[in-house]
Amino acid sequence: MSFVSRGFKGRSRDKPRDARVPPGQYVVHDFPVLSAGPTPQPSLDTWTFSIEGEVDETKRWTWAEMRALPSETVTRDIHCVTKWSKLDTTWEGVSVDTLLAGVETAADYVMAFCDGGYTTNLPLEDLTGGKAWIAFAFDGEPLESQHGGPARLLVPHLYFWKSAKWVRGLRLMNEDSPGFWETYGYHMYGDPWLEQRYSGD
C-alpha cells in the first residue's frame, strides 16, 4: 500500500508490550460493539437455556433456575478477530461444566444458538474443564444487551465471535458444522494464538 494519509494515526492502538497479546492484535480500552442484526430484548419471564441435540434427554433451565446455580467470577483477556484485544475483563457466570454435569452424550461438537438466530460451532472439549461460562455480568454489572445480555457464552481462549451473545442453548452434534460467521468463511476453530481467523488459516 503506497498511499499514506499525511498525519493520520487512527484510533490509539497500543502496540502489544505483553506476551499476553496474541499476534496481530492491539489492545483497546473501550468495548466495541459488533452486531449482525437487531439487538434482541427477550423477556426474562420466558427466557430458557437448553442443552439439546445428541443427548439422552434435553435439559432446560429458566432464568431463575440458571441464576440459582453456583456461579463464578473470572478475569480473562478477550481477543476479537477484528484485531482488538481487551485485557483483564471480569465476568460472572455459570460454568458450562455445571450445566453439563449429568448429561450423557457421545457428541464431540456443539452449536451454540441464540436469540436473533446467531449460531457458532465449537468442539465440546473447548467448553469443558473450566474453559467456558454462561456469563450474565460484566464488570460487576448485569450484562448490557448490546454486549450480549441477558446472557452470553464466554469462551475466552478462542476468538470472541465464538463467545455467542444472547445465547439460549447448546446443541450437541456428532459432526462439526459451521455456524453463522463460519458459513461465510471464518475459521471452524478460531485459536487467536495461531491466528485462525479465516478458513484455510
Binding site: 466495541p32 460493539v33 459488533l34 452486531s35 449482525a36 442484526g37 437487531p38 439487538t39 478477530v81 477484528t82 482488538w84 436473533g116 448490557e144 444487551s145 448490546q146 460467521w181 458459513t183 461465510y184 468463511g185 471464518y186 481467523r197 479465516y198 478458513s199 488459516d201
Partner: protein
C-alpha cells in the same frame, strides 16, 4: 449518547460501495424479494448492519429481519451469501432498445 439505547443500524444504501465490488450494477436502487416473508423492496431501503470494525455487511429484510445478503471479507477474499433473496431485478443491458 449511550450505545445501549440504539442499534448500530444503517440503510442498505450505505453498503452500495461494497456491493459494487460484487455486482457490475449499482444494486441498492434495484428491487429484490425476501425468501422468508416475500416482501419486495429496494436493497437500499433494507436494514444494514455494518460498522467500521465489522467483518462485513449484513443486509436484513426490513419486514422480517431475515438475512438477505451477507458479504464478509476473509483476508483477501470476499464471500457473498445471497440465500435470503428469491430474486433481484437488474436493468437488462441485453435488451433491444
Amino acid at each position: 449518547m449511550t450505545m445501549s439505547e440504539q442499534e448500530l443500524r444503517l440503510d442498505g444504501n450505505a453498503a452500495a460501495g461494497l456491493l459494487q465490488e460484487v455486482f457490475v450494477h449499482e444494486v441498492t436502487s434495484v428491487r429484490g424479494a425476501c425468501a422468508r416473508c416475500g416482501a419486495v423492496g429496494e436493497m437500499g431501503a433494507q436494514h444494514l448492519y455494518m460498522t467500521p470494525l465489522s467483518p462485513g455487511a449484513v443486509l436484513r429484510c426490513t419486514s422480517c429481519d431475515s438475512l438477505l445478503i451477507v458479504a464478509v471479507r476473509t483476508g483477501g477474499r470476499l464471500r457473498v451469501g445471497l440465500q435470503g433473496l428469491v430474486w433481484i431485478e437488474l436493468p437488462d443491458e441485453g435488451a433491444a432498445s
